[in-house]
């Protein structure tokens, strides 16, 4: 089910603006907030995340997957966002939905709120940024233009940058250069899910087996 939730927004008159979240919420005691992967990786992991949520629902655990401001259905401008803002947004969503745990996917570990939980495939901000910069450099080269990661980064920190179809503002780029995964989360090894990470795939995919394995692990770690 898709529901709205009040997300902090300093620019809005009320101080919040509504964002959407995919939820499986039956008012149960165990409530897991999903901190989504960032940028193109979220597209490739969304079906995996939704399938994992379905498995957890069957196992008696509520889950919520909020849109980050500026992404998915959000009407907020992406180039105004920062990791700090997204961290506040996730914390607010956690409070609104009374989450008891967090499951961070990939770059979601950079914005996970201070709840107990797990991270899958956690990645440092610099690595995420480098991959996006490299994709842009390679695409430019194919089009006959020569760009370098250093020059792009310099430009991005002043004026923002288009990376993999996302318009990132200077604050977000600067934040990514320094952000490291939340240290308090339990690391779930991708190898334990029995297959390669779906974020690696060139196209969005799904794996019911991996979703089931991830859900089993969470159920096991959170006795009813």
């Amino acid at each position: 089910m898709i529901v709205g939730w009040p997300c902090p927004d300093a620019a809005a008159p009320a101080g919040t603006r509504d964002e959407w979240a995919l939820v499986f919420d039956r008012g149960r005691a165990r409530r897991v907030l999903i901190a989504p992967a960032l940028f193109d990786e979220h597209n490739r992991l969304r079906r995996f995340a939704a399938e994992t949520m379905r498995r957890l629902d069957e196992a008696g655990i509520d889950t919520m997957l909020p849109d980050l401001p500026g992404t998915n259905e959000s009407l907020a401008p992406l180039d105004q966002q920062s990791l700090g803002g997204w961290r506040m947004a996730m914390a607010a969503a956690g409070r609104h939905f009374a989450a008891t745990h967090v499951l961070a996917l990939r770059g979601g570990s950079l914005i996970a709120p201070d709840l107990p939980g797990w991270s899958l495939g956690a990645i440092a901000g610099t690595s995420l940024l480098r991959q996006l910069l490299r994709a842009r450099v390679l695409a430019a080269r194919e089009a006959g233009r020569e760009e370098t990661q250093e020059a792009l980064l310099e430009m991005g920190r002043k004026a923002g940058l288009d990376l993999a179809g996302y318009r990132l503002g200077p604050n977000l780029i600067d934040d990514l250069q320094h952000a490291v995964p939340a240290p308090h989360l339990i690391t779930i090894a991708q190898a334990d899910l029995g297959g390669a990470g779906l974020w690696l795939r060139a196209e969005p995919g799904e794996s019911p087996e991996q979703s089931a394995a991830l859900a089993r692990r969470i159920v096991q770690d959170t006795p009813a």
């Binding site: 490299r134 994709a135 695409a139 370098t148 390669a196 795939r201 060139a202 995919g205």
Partner: protein, 87 residues
């Protein structure tokens, strides 16, 4: 041909491109990559190179990335073996 680099590279290609491992196992030195595999676009090339860096422990300079590097399975493997040998 160093067996471990060869196996690691095949595993990475299967993981990143979502290819059937049996198909990747049949790749030989002349198997075409960029321009031959529809799965391999600039975003997935970036993912592929990052994954090679992570799993094999060296950094690939963007200047090293050109059409020749990704032309065939053999050219990519030769580059990786040369980097591992000089490490």
């Amino acid at each position: 041909m160093s067996t471990s680099a060869d196996q690691t590279l095949r595993q990475i290609l299967a993981d990143v491109l979502g290819l059937d491992p049996a198909r990747v196992a049949r790749f030989d030195r002349d198997t075409g990559l960029f321009g031959h595999l529809p799965e391999l676009d600039s975003m997935s090339v970036a993912g592929l190179l990052t994954e090679i860096e992570d799993r094999l422990g060296f950094i690939i300079d963007d200047d090293d990335v050109d059409g020749e590097l990704l032309e065939t399975y053999g050219s990519l493997l030769a580059f990786i073996e040369a980097r591992l040998a000089s490490a």
